[in-house]
């Protein structure tokens, strides 16, 4: 366990009800996982499953209600995050929305290090930005341009350069390629893979796209309505998915191969809206759900080899 970089235990985040009649929403419901140095944990799940909130709560950009976060063995759940912010960075989904349009690129990239007094002069700031821009495949002259002058893929590169400027050890990648076209998506995925190796980075990689997550993660966590349904190595999840929801996800992802696609069965099932207060959150849509699934909330069962599933049926 000496290699453990980040550990999250029983993380919970609840948002208040939006209407007087409504129920509070448990965006993150008792989530635990850990990430080793240089490794990547991928979080998949549909929109509203709590994966983004989990990512933000780990960095305390959203304060969790309860639970613990340990970074390099130190409890960072409470108190000042400033000593850790440098080492823990984030790349956002919307490249345009996360870059200040009124700042030139060099200012965006160097703002973090400047806040930590790592850069003394404007010259140093511009110099650092130029270096990082080259590293993410842009031109060093781009330092003086503004975010609006770049395409979506290029803006995402700037977002990555900004995260790198702090020389982090851990980066939360929140849907970094979801807004991009296929040809850019591959470029950014490759860059994240290269950077991970070069700088021994660890990622929490959040995406709704199981193919992308599968491609660059060591471990995968599958989330549904705020809870982790399954956690395990990529190999295990791909070859021996244990939770019915994981199996449904694997089945439903469209693969670019007509023969494979034709061999898979699909069915139209009617499923009710809404969430459940008791039992397994997936039981309303689950093909194997029974009476017993409505009782206790299923807890993680250890299937061995770091593979866990929250299904009581199998």
């Amino acid at each position: 366990m000496s290699n453990e970089l980040l550990r999250v235990e029983n993380l919970i985040k609840t948002y208040p009800a939006r209407t007087s009649k409504g129920q509070p929403v448990r965006a993150v419901d008792d989530v635990s996982f850990s990430i080793e140095k240089g490794k990547t944990l991928g979080l998949v799940g549909e929109s509203g499953s709590g994966k983004t909130t989990t990512g933000r709560a780990v960095l305390r950009l959203t304060e969790p209600d309860s639970g613990s976060i340990f970074f390099e063995g130190k409890d960072i759940t409470k108190g000042n995050m400033r000593p850790y912010r440098r080492k823990m960075q984030i790349v956002f989904q919307s490249p345009a929305g996360s870059l200040d349009p009124s700042f030139p690129v060099w200012k965006i990239i160097s703002e973090g290090p400047k806040a930590y007094k790592l850069l003394k002069t404007k010259r140093e700031a511009v110099e650092l930005s130029r270096e990082l821009l080259l590293r993410v495949g842009l031109n060093s002259e781009d330092a003086f341009r503004y975010p609006g002058e770049f395409s979506g893929g290029q803006q995402q590169r700037i977002g990555i350069a900004r995260a790198l400027a702090m020389e982090p050890e851990f980066v939360v990648c929140d849907e970094p390629v979801s807004a991009l076209d296929v040809s850019y998506q591959a470029q950014i995925v490759n860059m994240l893979i290269d950077l991970r190796q070069e700088r021994e980075l660890s990622y929490l990689f959040i995406s709704h796209d199981l193919s992308v997550v599968m491609h660059l993660s060591d471990e995968i966590g599958v989330m549904y309505q705020g809870q982790l349904m399954e956690l395990g190595s990529c190999e295990e999840i791909a070859k021996h998915p244990a939770h019915p929801y994981t199996r449904e996800l694997l089945r439903a992802v469209p693969v670019a191969d007509p023969r494979k696609a034709a061999s898979r069965e699909s069915r139209i099932i009617a499923f009710p809206e809404g969430s459940v207060n008791r039992g397994c959150p997936y039981r309303l849509r689950c093909p194997v759900a029974g009476e017993e699934c409505g009782g206790e909330r299923p807890s993680f069962r250890d299937l061995g080899g770091g593979h866990f599933s929250a299904c009581i049926k199998e």
Partner: protein
């Protein structure tokens, strides 16, 4: 089989302050009843513009050349009245964002009933009954409850189902689907795709499916046209496009998609470069600036369609040899 939809050499231009931009150039397709055809491309490739032109829903752009005919009738010369009766009746369209298509101030029931009564001679009671059944057939468990509500009370997946139910209720002969599942989760997407293909099969409805996702194309389409820079660069049966792609762009895209396998951090293949500046399109092949196989002729001459047989066409100067090699 007689063609349902025929588009020939369609060109669409956007007049802008900086000059005229070709959004679509020389676009042709034939669609038969019951057939599902995919148009794939990245953003800015012109795939949506082509679809909007067919529906005469273009805003700020105009068709400058070409022919569009539906069941042998020229759509470009139709009166507004005739077009309106086709749209929503025999020709339906579903969009990526159903929220923009449903009226926020009218209950779902009112919208569905109005839609049906516009296009067929039914009473309110009958229309209500058909609507309820349509909602049930798209997998909504409580159609009566949904009908009594407003669109903002529904989730994205439910809203898209309502939109589809509404569009299918008039039993269109052609459905144009513009990325209708992009905003949805894969499990719900899978169901909606199943529903659409089932309708095509059972009602002999034809569908033009616009997407950037090759996975969806593989799942539902009989035929595919690949677009880049406003032009079709390759067309053919799904089998041809996936198993013997003839255009370097198609090959590049297919290789850039991660498959559903543990990747262990392998690098993906990429297409280098960026899309063309619409104000300064290349004078030769649209893909030449990014093409790994680009030669002299590619920079100067626009490639013609190279026939690979069986309806498989490739707009590439090097297609003939390349395609054969791959087989």
């Amino acid at each position: 089989m007689s063609e349902l939809l025929k588009v020939k050499n369609l060109s669409v231009q956007f007049p802008t302050d900086k000059g005229t931009v070709y959004a679509v150039k020389d676009f042709s397709l034939n669609l038969n009843p019951g057939e599902i055809m995919g148009i794939v491309g990245e953003s800015g490739s012109g795939k949506s513009t082509a679809a909007y032109a067919i529906m005469d829903l273009l805003q700020g752009a105009r068709v400058t050349a070409g022919e569009i005919s539906f069941q042998g009738r020229d759509m470009l010369s139709m009166s507004g009245e005739e077009k309106r009766s086709l749209r929503g009746g025999q020709v339906g369209m579903i969009f990526q964002d159903p929220m923009g298509c449903l009226d926020p101030s009218v209950k779902i029931e009112g919208q569905m009933v109005e839609m049906l009564r516009q296009h067929s001679n039914v009473t309110k009671g009958e229309a209500r009954k058909i609507s309820t059944e349509m909602l049930r057939s798209v997998g909504i468990t409580d159609p009566e409850g949904v009908m009594k509500g407003y669109q903002h009370q529904l989730s994205g997946g439910m809203r898209q189902r309502v939109m589809i139910a509404m569009m299918l209720s008039t039993q269109p002969k052609l459905l144009i689907a513009d990325e209708p599942t992009t905003a949805l989760d894969v499990t719900i997407q899978d169901q909606i795709l199943e529903l659409l293909t089932k309708t095509c099969r059972e009602n002999h409805m034809a569908m033009l499916f616009i997407t950037h996702n090759f996975g969806i194309v593989a799942r539902i389409c009989n035929r595919v046209s690949v677009m880049y820079g406003g032009m079709i660069v390759e067309e053919g049966l799904s089998e041809d496009i996936f198993y013997s792609p003839g255009h370097p762009y198609t090959r590049g895209l297919l290789e850039a998609i991660p498959d559903l396998e543990p990747g262990a951090g392998r690098r993906l293949k990429t297409i280098s470069g960026t899309p063309n500046d619409p104000f300064a399109p290349p004078s030769g092949c649209v893909f030449a600036p990014r093409c790994p196989d680009c030669t002299g002729i590619c920079k100067t001459e626009i490639p013609k369609r190279q026939d690979m047989g069986g309806g498989h066409g490739v707009w590439c100067h090097l297609a003939r040899q390349e395609g054969r090699k791959g087989e």
